[in-house]
């Protein structure tokens, strides 16, 4: 079990105590509030994951083959879900992020937010995080070759 999977397990346990939607949403709201702020200079169309119902901004960096992301959103529920994604991927190896399929959202009873019809940006956020990971991985490989 890699680090992402371990963290996913912890998140699952955190949610498993509650079966009421209010409690689950309260966790999300807490996570949204505790999310490290995104520098306003990244809240531009370039970093916007625009979807039908809410807006999310995402900025990702690569440090020594590990991904570090920051995000912000205008809807607090979506932002809370983005916080879960970031909690899972931040500081993790690029390849592990590419391989992980985010089934944690199924297990914590929030999978409906991932459905394409919800179009809340979460799906696109995950896709974008993976694209960053893939792009940085390719860049690292080509840098290694050049060395």
């Amino acid at each position: 079990m890699n680090n992402i999977e371990l963290k996913a397990k912890q998140i699952e346990e955190e949610f498993s105590i509650f079966d009421d939607w209010m409690d689950r949403y309260n966790i999300l709201i807490d996570k949204a509030r505790n999310l490290e702020p995104l520098d306003p200079k990244y809240k531009t169309p370039q970093y916007l994951i625009n979807d039908c119902q809410s807006q999310l901004w995402l900025f990702c960096e690569n440090k020594d083959g590990r991904l570090f992301c920051k995000a912000d959103g205008d809807a607090i529920i979506t932002k809370g879900m983005a916080a879960i994604v970031l909690e899972l991927v931040n500081g993790e190896p690029l390849q592990d992020i590419i391989n992980y399929n985010f089934e944690v959202f199924d297990k914590i009873g929030l999978h409906s937010h991932l459905s394409p019809t919800r179009s809340n940006g979460l799906r696109s956020l995950i896709k974008q995080v993976k694209l960053y990971a893939e792009a940085y991985l390719l860049k690292n490989i080509s840098n290694d070759k050049q060395r």
């Binding site: 209010m22 949403y25 039908c52 119902q53 809807a75 409906s112 809340n120």
Partner: protein, 407 residues
């Protein structure tokens, strides 16, 4: 006689299976009455065969039923001729048909198209693309956000000798208000300019008479008025339709094909390339029969009563801002936002409470920009909704407010 909502609601199996759901997303699509569902089932079980093709019994029967459905729609909107009813996938395809075929025939570089900023993207983007394709100008009638009306004086000034078509919705999908369609048509016709009416949202809430409207083109979808999905029509006045080239090509729409050239079939088949969605069209015919049993005025008055009730209830919530103009009549839709809760957050909680409303920009971003919001929550009503549904919505909104404000 008052509207009997319970007996009407009993025609919709959705309610016997989902008694706990408050369905207030009717402007997106309505539930289906049992007669429509049964007809679809019955047709597929008994008569299924391709239309206008074979000489065998089933094909003839299917063709009869299909053309019978066309006649029912024709009568329902009082079109003069059944061949002026072109079956399409829905409103969007109907508009795209005109935005292609009419523009191909009648527009040259430098001409202009007039529309409004309150259109659904379906009646905006096709014109934007047509304008780009043929180097046309897309002109937009100013919309006054204080009283929710189009500026007709400005509209008259926008019209010139190069104006080739006006595309306008009859009812806004976000605000539920009606546009001054009659004035616009009268003025356009005085200049010999045709008007396309997007009737997607008006069709379920008002009687439509294309002859009385003197409509050139009118687009609508079955599924917003209890009918099946994937079927709708373009009504087109024959004088325009006959002059327009085909939209798509393939089977059914041809007359004669040789290696050198193809001549096209007559109306309506010229515009119905490929196997049409006859099963849904036939089921839609039965939907029309179903609707026709009811007194439309009673039905529409009841809808108005529901809207007024909802407006009054929501107005009493100080943390809600409603996008409506009480001096105007509204058709089906009621849009609002919380002053300090994002629409998506509100809708997520409403969903947990089994209240189905639509949230977002409702495919009307130019209007959202005018209203100064990125999205709204929209409750939209059908005559199977009752005051209890609205009371539950109001309770739900109170829960949303409490939930996000204790946090």
């Amino acid at each position: 006689m008052p509207w009997d909502v319970n007996s009407f609601r009993n025609h919709f199996p959705f309610y016997s299976l989902n008694n706990d759901i408050v369905y207030l997303d009717n402007a997106a699509t309505t539930q289906k009455n049992i007669e429509t569902i049964d007809t679809l089932n019955f047709f597929y079980s008994h008569f299924n065969a391709n239309v206008h093709r074979g000489a065998h019994y089933l094909s003839i029967k299917a063709t009869e039923l299909f053309e019978d459905a066309r006649n029912k729609i024709q009568n329902f909107i009082n079109a003069k001729n059944s061949y002026e009813i072109i079956f399409t996938k829905g409103t969007t395809e109907a508009i795209n048909l005109v935005a292609f075929s009419y523009i191909e025939q009648f527009c040259k570089s430098g001409d202009n198209i007039i529309t409004t900023p309150i259109e659904h993207h379906s009646n905006f983007v096709p014109w934007q693309l047509a304008a780009k394709r043929k180097n046309l100008e897309l002109r937009v009638i100013p919309f006054n956000v204080n009283n929710y009306t189009l500026d007709l004086a400005a509209f008259r000034k926008l019209v010139d000798n190069n104006t080739k078509i006006i595309a306008i919705t009859q009812v806004s999908n976000v605000l539920g208000i009606a546009t001054n369609i009659n004035e616009i048509i009268d003025f356009a016709h005085s200049k010999n300019i045709p008007v396309l009416i997007d009737a997607a949202q008006s069709f379920p809430h008002m009687s439509i008479d294309v002859q009385k409207l003197d409509a050139d083109f009118l687009a609508l979808s079955a599924h917003k008025f209890y009918g099946p999905t994937g079927i709708g029509i373009l009504f087109g006045n024959e004088k325009w339709l006959n002059a327009m080239p085909p939209y798509q090509s393939g089977g059914e729409m041809i007359d004669l094909v040789t290696i050198d050239k193809t001549t096209f079939n007559e109306l309506p088949f010229k515009f119905e390339a490929g196997t049409p969605n006859f099963a849904d069209a036939i089921a839609w015919g039965s939907t029309i029969d179903f609707i026709s049993q009811f007194d439309k005025n009673q039905m529409f008055n009841y809808e108005e009563e529901l809207w007024n009730y909802a407006y009054e209830k929501l107005s009493s919530l100080p943390y809600i801002k409603i996008f409506a103009c009480p001096e105007q009549k509204h058709y089906g839709a009621l849009s609002f936002v919380f002053n300090d809760i994002h629409p998506y957050d509100a809708a997520s909680v409403l969903d947990e409470l089994k209240i189905a409303v639509r949230v977002g920009h409702h495919c009307a971003q130019p209007l959202m920009n005018l209203l100064g919001v990125t999205g709204t929550i929209r409750a939209s009503f059908a005559p199977y909704n009752n005051k209890d549904d609205i009371d539950k919505l109001v309770e739900g909104l109170k829960t949303v407010y409490k939930f996000f404000n204790k946090n």
